[in-house]
Amino acid sequence: MDLIWLIPALPLYGFVMLVLLGRKFGDPKAGWFASLLVAGSFGVTLKVFFDLLALPSEQRVFTQELFTWMPSGTFDVSFGFMVDPLSILMCLFITGIGALIHVYSIGYMKGDENYSKFFLYLNLFIASMLLLVLGNNLLLTFLGWEGVGLCSYLLISFWHTDMANSTAAKKAFVVNRIGDFGFMVGTFWVWFTVGSINYVDIKAYAPVMAGTTATVIALLFLLGAAGKSAQLPLYVWLPDAMAGPTPVSALMHAATMVTAGVYLLTRLNPILAQAGWANDVIAWVGVLTALVAASIAIAQTDIKKVLAYSTVSQLGYMFLAVGTQNYVAAVFHMVTHAFFKALLFLGSGSVITQMAHEQDMRRYGNLRKYMPITAGTFIVGWLAIAGVPPFSGFWSKDEILAGAFNAGPAGPALWAIGLVVALMTAFYMTRQVIMTFFGDEKWRVEEAEVGSGEEHDAAAHAADAHAADDGHHGLTPSHEPGESPATMTVPLVVLAVAAVIAGLLNLPFAHNLEYLGNWLEPVIVDEHHLPAASVLFGLASAAIVFSFIGLYLGYLVYSKRKVAAEKIELAAMARGLYIDETYSRFADGPGTVIYQGVADFDGAVVNGIVDGVGSGTVGLARLIRPLQSGLVRNYALGIGAGAVLMLIFIVTRMNL
């Protein structure tokens, strides 16, 4: 237990060492060094986990205070860690998947001129993420929260000579800051109400917190979580964030960082228990995000964009679970999603590197022949996310939907939308798998022919331009893809195995099989109750049926070509339902006008007045300058006149 501090300290050490010596380590030593430290951190996490496991469940919370961080009056915040079932679970998958993706990056980043810099950012990210989940108070979580945001900024703009990457990074940071506003004000409110921002104190106080206060606080933290976890209306940064290297997309923008919002809300579940309708807001934000993002994903042509919108959509599921107080399901889906989505992203990265950095799926096809391991593992990920039993995604998604069904009067509506999203998920993933790994080898045809007649949607166009700018858009008809090196395929295989079996964590058949539910039980105060077993069975059957309908429709459209794809992939969907565009149009239009207006006001009006006073004074001085004539008789006249006036004044007013 005393080793807790070592969990974030190891990657932090890696960061510091790589700042100092990274260039000297070089390629690939820097990568192995960084990976080793994260693996070490995973080892320590395991040790702490087993220590925790040995304790009776009600004693499974352990805090370690390192030093007083920010003491000011009664606001006394320490730099301290808290290990409990929730935080150690987060640590396990952050360091576990983190280590795998580090290893993968050794191969992926090979030959990059800033090789060691990439790994120092990754190490810093892991350290920040661990601080986020291990912090024993809101402020320390915020430190990690902003730390991962910083790493996200630095890694999205990793290839910074391309302005598009830089813009995406800036967008990610600024949009996240909107969420941070909610986080900060929420923290103020918690402190003002509870008198402390330690999680232990919050949990102790929450049962007597006034309902309105709890609602306001919950909504503020929802804003924060919606920023980090890319929910409506703040999700727009995540698809653009795919500009970063693919391992970054897998690690941060799919598996770990974006789940921070779900973690935060789960951590604050004692407040949410008092927050009344704020929970409904969370559930609806979640389910609508899932729906919107899934519909956009259907029409994307960039392999990473599909996965990005899919991530937004899956995070929506987790928010739905949180909003229906189904926290175990939220965490369960967080874990399974981390496995299969990291797998899918890394698989896409493997494809992209083998296809000369082309990301347009319309130029792929039949790749299973050239890269069997990538294809096989990708297919496992596909089945997992599509909700095919017994793959992991089925179990966690089913639990969310079953929970939603039972959540008050709106429950069935939430459930129904969730079910439609499940169908859409199966559909767009089938589309992706078929376009990439099956069918004709479309890059064999000259590019112009593929694109002809089709409208080039804005997103794909930007992606093309991006690839062209980077100068690695070299996919020619004679291109021969192959399988990626072992550093990349071994992580794929490990993740594929996890994506298959992770459902075992929480099987619904018997209470003692619900390992995750039992494990998290001490952390969660107001656990939602699932419907009766018979209803549950019906719901699960419906979910399976909808998944298979999705799969079959995808097969019909993209393999059998019974229906023209254009009829389904509407232009509006390809352009993200115009949401992002509307934002940009506002920012570039009225937003800029307002900003410029204020700046002009400052220059013209505020400064104008000052300059006016200045020139006015000069003018006045010119006017009265003749008075100072230097002629004594004029002065004498003035003095005389003045004396007479004063005399008159005194005589008339003083009643002498």
Binding site: F67, T68, W69, M70, P71, S72, G73, T74, F75, N114, L139, F142, L143, E146, G147, L150, Y153, L154, H160, T161, D162, M163, N165, S166, T167, K170, F173, V174, R177, I178, D180, F181, M184, V185, F188, W189, W191, F192, T193, V194, G195, S196, D201, A204, Y205, P207, V208, A210, G211, T213, I594, Y595, Q596, V598, A599, D602, V606, N607, V610, G614
Partner: protein, 534 residues
């Protein structure tokens, strides 16, 4: 006079110390200035060295003060008191407490860096001479415990700064220097009227001889409510111009932009703090009732500064103007925090004063180096620099995020405490001000993007990478950025007793002042009182 100051008699008054540290800290740069004055103008190799050595000696003395400062004491330490003009009760009264300590430390960090940060071609003798006078006067401002003495130092600073901008500045430097001078003089006129009437009214009320002694007048609190408020306003105008608060800020972008690098650094890091420090020392402390009365207006001006400064900063085309307007936003946090009249707010305010000095100072130095290399600060003419100078870009990124207020770096603790303090006494001011954290990210990241990211064109392709010597100059600032960000506790615990005492003073003299005590109430306790709606 100098002789008597250093005499053992004066030293004896400083209590446990035998050496009058504060007068020495003020005097050493002055001696440096005198040395520069007597050195022949052709010895161009010597001036910078003399300036550096003397500023370092002064800083070393300040370091000694910092180390020996007694944590946990609320009152003034290192006090020196010597009658100066006995007829009107003016004395050479110096001392520091937990609030002024770190502003003195800031001086001690910034001045040696400012001496080193730029190469000066013409008239080095005058340049370094003025710089030393500036250091001496700045130190004096933060430790004067006599109103007239404070006023003298406050005004004395104007002279060297006027010449630094007017003679070594860029572009419209004369316009900028005049504007700076006239604006500040206008404020000073109000302050002079205020402090003379304060001394007179105080003497009349108490029935003793006239005194300008801060400690005595503070203790007396002899003014009527109305008189107190009027005189507070007179002081407030002077300080509001100096901070600067909207709408008195227009001198700042011009002065910052046209000043030479060291001038911008000192203006931003030190001179602006005269205003906010003045608000604490000569506003809240002298006029607790009036400060509480004026707090809503002051906090509103602070919030306006935060948002307005950030918005104006975003649209600037000159890198220096971006940073200049960002100062208005940062100082808005200070004013907001101070006038929240809460422990967190005032401590946060003081922290922001210090950290704004470090971060913005570093930013101005970096921009100065960009100008040295490219002879332009226009954002549109720069671009892609990260490609050719990654270390330079990395350092800039670090300083930028410290200015944005990223947790873990120095900008955050102060900003956060100022906001949470404001929230605790004036909720909606705190909430609106927190929007500033969004805007701050926007203007800096956008400027950074245009200057450092993107493809590099011919004009920028020869941008020189950061030198070791430059890294060394910035090293003290970078160290502070990390240290204060990760461990602000030593600063907070040194200022806390002073702030507590200040707020007790406010509580005693401002009848309406009533601040909710926020502390962790166990659930049992809370339940006993019922779930309380706030």
């Amino acid at each position: 006079m100098i002789g008597t100051l250093l005499s053992s008699q004066a030293a004896a008054r400083s209590g446990d110390l035998n050496f009058p540290l504060l007068p020495a800290i003020i005097l050493v740069p002055l001696i440096g200035g005198a040395l520069i004055l007597v050195t022949p103008a052709r010895r161009n190799d010597l001036f910078k060295q003399i300036a550096l050595m003397t500023s370092l000696v002064s800083s070393a003395l300040m370091a000694y003060v910092l180390v020996t400062f007694r944590t946990g004491e609320a009152g003034y330490q290192f006090v020196v008191r010597q009658t100066w003009i006995s007829d009107i009760g003016v004395s050479f009264h110096l001392g520091i407490d937990g609030i002024s300590l770190f502003l003195m430390v800031l001086n001690a960090i910034i001045f040696p860096v400012a001496v080193l940060c730029a190469k000066i071609e013409d008239n080095q003798k005058a340049y370094y001479g003025w710089l030393m006078l500036l250091m001496s006067a700045s130190m004096g401002v933060f430790c004067s415990l006599d109103l007239l003495l404070f006023f003298v130092f406050f005004e004395l600073v104007l002279v060297p700064m006027y010449f630094l901008i007017g003679m070594w500045g860029h572009g419209r430097r004369v316009y900028a220097a005049n504007k700076f001078f006239l604006f500040t003089m206008l404020g000073s006129a109000f302050m002079l009227v205020g402090l003379v009437s304060l001394a007179v009214l105080n003497a009349r009320a108490v029935g003793g001889p006239i005194t300008f002694d801060l400690v005595e007048i503070t203790a007396n609190q002899s003014l009527s409510t109305g008189a107190g408020r009027w005189i507070f306003c007179a002081f407030a105008i002077a300080f509001a111009i100096k901070v600067p608060l909207f709408p008195f800020h227009t001198w700042l972008p011009d002065a910052h932009t046209e000043a030479p690098t060291a001038g911008s650094v000192i203006l931003a890091a030190i001179l602006l703090k005269f205003g906010t420090y003045g608000f604490v020392r000569f506003g809240i402390q002298l006029f607790p009732e009036a400060s509480h009365w004026a707090a809503p207006v002051m906090m509103t001006l602070g919030v306006i500064g935060i948002l307005y400064g950030a918005i104006c900063a975003t649209m600037q085309k000159d890198l220096k103007r971006v940073i200049a307007y960002s100062s208005i936003a940062h100082l808005g946090f200070v004013v907001l925090g101070i006038f929240s009249l809460s422990v967190q707010g005032i401590e946060g305010g003081v922290l922001v004063m210090f950290n704004h000095g470090i971060s913005t100072g570093a930013l101005f130095i970096l921009v100065g180096w960009i100008y040295e290399r490219r002879h332009t600060r226009v954002i549109a003419e720069l671009g892609g620099i990260q490609k050719v100078a990654p270390v330079f870009a990395g350092v800039f990124t670090l300083v930028m995020f410290s200015s944005i207020g990223l947790p873990g770096l120095n900008g955050f603790p102060g900003e956060f405490l100022a906001l949470i303090g404001a929230f605790s006494t004036a909720r909606w001011w705190g909430v609106v001000a927190a929007i500033g954290v969004i805007l701050a990210a926007l203007y800096l990241l956008w400027a950074y993007q245009r200057v450092f990211h993107g493809p590099v064109d011919a004009a920028n392709s020869n941008f020189r990478e950061m030198r070791w010597s430059e890294g060394l100059i910035l090293a003290p600032l970078l160290f502070t950025i990390f240290f204060v960000g990760l461990y602000p506790t030593p600063m907070l615990e040194r200022m806390e007793p002073t702030v507590d005492k200040l707020l007790e003073h406010v509580e005693e003299h401002a009848p309406d002042y009533n601040v909710k005590k926020i502390e962790f109430k166990g659930p049992a306790d809370a339940a006993a009182h019922g779930a309380v709606e706030d």
